[in-house]
């Protein structure tokens, strides 16, 4: 009964970890996942994904899901 959580780029370095496995008990949405993993408030411009799809913080999360948090993607200027 677990949720896999992944962190990328500067967020990974800031939190000091690239992956977490958390107990899904008591986890309802993306915001709950963040709270279970990070000791800092959810930064405004951090993006989230659930099972490889961009997600909002109020999106429901279920047992077995993979949740990811990362900074804005960097595509570069046109």
């Amino acid at each position: 009964m677990s949720i896999t959580v992944r962190f990328f780029a500067s967020l990974r370095e800031r939190l000091g970890k690239g992956q977490d496995i958390i107990d899904s008990k008591g986890i309802a949405n993306v915001a709950d996942v963040w709270q279970a993993c990070a000791r800092i408030p959810f930064p405004d411009n951090v993006l989230a994904a659930v099972n490889m799809e961009y997600a909002r913080t109020d999106q429901p999360v279920r047992d077995g899901d993979e949740v990811a948090f990362f900074p804005p993607v960097t595509g570069g200027a046109r």
Binding site: R6, F8, A9, S10, L11, R14, P43, N45, V46, A49, M52, A68, F70, P71, P72, V73, T74, G75, G76, R78
Partner: protein, 143 residues
């Protein structure tokens, strides 16, 4: 339609020739090939760039590249498409990304190629870390 995430340096022009050779069914079906190649510069934001590391979220990258090439194929009548994107450590002058679109006519080839590279830049989860004379820096907004 092919999408490849490449750990090692690639030659976009050889890749185009190889793809056409490996897909003989394409021959005669296209009159236009639009190609975009993105290459690593040796300067950015006033600093000399010695190298760049591209981090990505592999399964999500693959999924979103497949989706946006599919979108392009449904919007324009294209014959085929090849997308190759590097990850890992790159040196200046190495190609980062190739988008090649084959179509009967140039309008569709250009439009599909442009759509894929523009959408890729905002939707595919890649993050750039540059190595400059001052050390390593993430190319992104501060968080």
């Amino acid at each position: 339609m092919k999408i490849r995430l490449a750990a090692d340096a690639f030659d976009p022009w050889q890749e185009i020739v190889r793809y056409q050779t490996e897909h003989p069914g394409l021959a005669g079906k296209f009159g236009a090939t639009a190609v975009f190649v993105g290459t690593l510069r040796d300067f950015n934001q006033g600093e000399t760039v010695q190298a760049m590391t591209l981090e990505h979220y592999a399964p999500m990258t693959q999924k979103h590249l497949e989706r946006l090439t599919g979108e392009a194929a449904s919007r324009w009548p294209i014959a085929d498409m090849l997308v190759i994107h590097r990850y890992g450590e790159l040196r200046p002058n190495e190609p980062i990304v190739l988008v090649a679109c084959w179509a009967a006519h140039r309008d569709s080839a250009f439009a599909a190629c442009r759509y894929v590279i523009d959408e890729l830049k905002t939707r595919a989860p890649f993050w750039k870390q540059e190595l400059t004379g001052k050390g390593r820096r993430w190319v992104e907004q501060e968080i």
